[in-house]
Symmetry: C2
Subunit: 440 residues, 2 copies
């Protein structure tokens, strides 16, 4: 009963190129080989991996590819007119950028999973693609198998989006939820994550927020039409989170998650990546382990929530293959035309302070009379009003009494000024931990 594009087209395979055969590239070849019949139906015709360019063609691979399809010479793709779609599955900025530009100029449509590349060189690459009449599909760059790029750029097109918030880095969420569940400290859990393969040998980009920030910059382009330089987005890592913070948050009914947050005000776009308090029972708070999650609010659709495996070989390959199919059938070219073309996108200033929110403060203070009045007076002086306070007795050996303050919603600038003043106060015994509270 089902019509297909026609038996002539069905016998004409589409030839695919790949650049890079690391974890994701291997997964993509595996999916294309194992599900070849299924994919041929979805694409309307068979897909053939025509050529793969790698640094070292002699290296042993866990998928079968004949030698003649594997080389280190990009011209085997750029100069092969039969190849129309190329998946660029290299990490990092170079040579990924140069290769992508060469591929676009040689008339290839691109698919990529490289979030650093799109966040850093998106404006240049998108312009080059449009000039060449080609498309770039990058679902796999954010949230692994979660179809958040399609959701924002194809499914929510009738909405003005007011916020996108997500847990976009599985490694840091794995570490945080392990710390929460097992009471262990950051360094121990990081070593465990490395030994179990959840964290890279060099986990810096994951735990310092860089990876999530690059993904947020791309989402901000899709939802708000802005190319915000990702390095200008304030980002905070996991290293300040300790068991005392997790316990106090728990006592108050919250969890701590590394949240990438882009919220739009009337004329501002507030962006921030870092640990934040999210209320227990809400979807972000219940996101455990290496999962990713994204919450989007649109003016018509209301709140939407997506949850899935945000990284790993096969979830990422799922997104790459869907983009390859989308490119083959012509959907990607259509979507790419309008990506980031949202109302008033040019009038919105990005606000590197993050938006207004309640804040959660943890201070260690001298156990002397008048201290609480002094410190809360500083907050009051900035117009920051207090929602609740917890003070427990000091433990032996602690450099002060832990004091927890939750405030009502306040502007980020007022918080910055108050933090400066508080950190200079002689009663404050260690650097203050200040986390935004996400109340929705």
């Amino acid at each position: 009963m089902m019509q297909t594009i026609g038996s002539d087209d069905m016998t004409q395979p589409v030839h695919i190129g790949l650049v890079g055969m690391g974890t994701v590239g291997t997964g993509v070849v595996r999916v294309l080989q194992n599900s070849a019949d299924h994919i041929a139906r979805q694409a309307g015709r068979p897909l053939i991996v025509e050529h793969v360019v790698v640094q070292d063609p002699k290296k042993p691979r866990s998928v079968e590819l004949s030698d003649k399809r594997l080389s280190s010479d990009l011209r085997n793709i750029t100069e092969n007119p039969a190849i129309s779609v190329v998946a660029v599955l290299l990490g990092g900025l170079e040579p990924a950028r140069t290769i992508s530009l060469e591929l676009l100029r040689s008339g290839k449509d691109l698919v990529t999973a490289n979030k650093a590349l799109v966040a850093e060189h998106g404006p240049e690459l998108f312009q080059a693609a449009r000039e060449a009449g080609r498309s770039i599909a990058f679902e796999a760059a954010i949230g692994g198998g979660i179809p958040i790029v399609a959701a924002v750029s194809e499914c929510l097109t009738g909405n003005r989006i007011s916020s996108i918030r997500g847990i976009l880095n599985g490694t840091s969420n794995f570490i945080l939820t392990k710390m929460e569940q097992e009471g262990s400290n950051y360094q121990d859990v990081l070593r465990l994550a490395q030994s179990e393969g959840y964290a890279e040998a060099d986990p810096t980009m994951d735990v310092d927020g860089t990876d999530a920030t690059q993904k947020l910059a791309i989402l901000a382009h899709l939802a708000f039409g802005q190319w915000v330089p990702w390095a200008s987005i304030p980002r905070f890592g996991l290293e300040t989170i300790d068991q005392e913070l997790l316990r106090f948050a728990d006592e108050l009914g919250w969890r701590i998650r590394v949240v990438a947050d882009a919220s739009r005000g009337v004329e501002t776009l507030s962006l921030r990546v870092g640990p934040a308090l999210v209320r227990k029972g809400t979807p972000l708070a219940e996101t455990q382990g290496a999962f990713n999650a994204v919450s989007v609010v649109g003016d018509a659709v209301g709140p939407l929530f997506f949850h899935g495996l945000g990284a790993g070989q096969m979830p990422t390959a799922s997104a790459v293959v869907a983009d390859i199919i989308g490119t083959v059938v012509g959907r990607s070219a259509i979507t790419f035309q309008q990506v980031g073309n949202v109302e008033n996108s040019e009038n919105v200033d990005s606000n590197i302070h993050g938006g207004p929110s309640p804040i959660f403060l943890r201070l260690h203070v001298a156990d002397t009379p008048g201290v609480l009045a002094d410190l809360t007076g500083i907050l009051g002086g900035e117009g920051i009003s207090i929602d609740s306070v917890i003070q427990h007795p000091a433990k032996n050996g602690q450099s002060g009494v832990p004091l927890i303050i939750m405030t009502h919603c306040c502007p980020a600038e007022a918080v910055d000024r108050a933090m400066n003043a508080l950190n200079k106060n002689p009663a404050v015994r260690s650097p203050i931990c200040c986390l935004p509270v996400i109340t929705e």
Copy 2:
């Protein structure tokens, strides 16, 4: 920096037709009017509501439409060659079916939110559309604003899907979670839901599972390539759920949700809609109130979860408008070509028994020696092994002692046979409640 389709095209609006101006139709006009500039950017050109066909053009409307754009004559759309896309926003089967066929034959692409229409007449309408070279987009038919149709038919195309499970009816989920939170009984909560607008004056289709079953039948077509007659899918309503069941489930660490479940075995497709036990803390269990949720498992992507407002004027309008835009830019035509065209779709038999699962039984039994041995012996005779048993003392006036049995995973056919035998046993004092347990 952003290229658009070109200034010539940008000045050429696309003319839209609407049939039906109830809740959803009004929402669609509202979005198209309020977000006209935004939508013009996303569609590459302005969208104009050219004509709306309604039963009674004189009826007062909460959106402004000039009289000449409103009539009761479908020919004002079918005979207007300027109109290329029509949203059919009528409920029920007729005249929606006849009107849809006429629109397709007159060369219009369709967008619809009518799940009964697609579930019942999908094969006929899809064939008519393909014969006419037109497309049908129906994101709004399932899960309101949740982009589950796009996810399955565009974003997971590299995956063989093994299961789709969802809370697809907001009304019954609202009732169930109110009963859970407030300890009230079904009839009282239903009346509250009606007075608050969460339930229709006639809520039959919502609470008996019909609405969710129609949506499941459409999802089964997308994910498994089958057009299963929706009325053949076993469906169970809410009316058997009482406080005792909710309390026992809670005691064992579970919640009860109305789950629409399509799971694929090697050569079978198991389908069922009805109350089921889901473990507390899992995404389906934490879906509260009028929200919808869908969980999809694919062989590459693993588990994905979607959550959002599954009904209501604006969330549904969000999906309709996205489909109108998708049709205008050409995405819907591409996607519609391959919808339901999945591997081996013709070799899968749908299994009207539902799949194998553990089961949760609630019996009221005579408080006499040997009863537990008798009843568990019946289960053992069918090869059903028991995981746990709870028996609390009888309360005054109860017709028997409540007995709760959780089993290990067992085939649905064995459960059917055991239920027959148990219901005939003289020690059993009221009809047994038997719910599947979703363990993933």
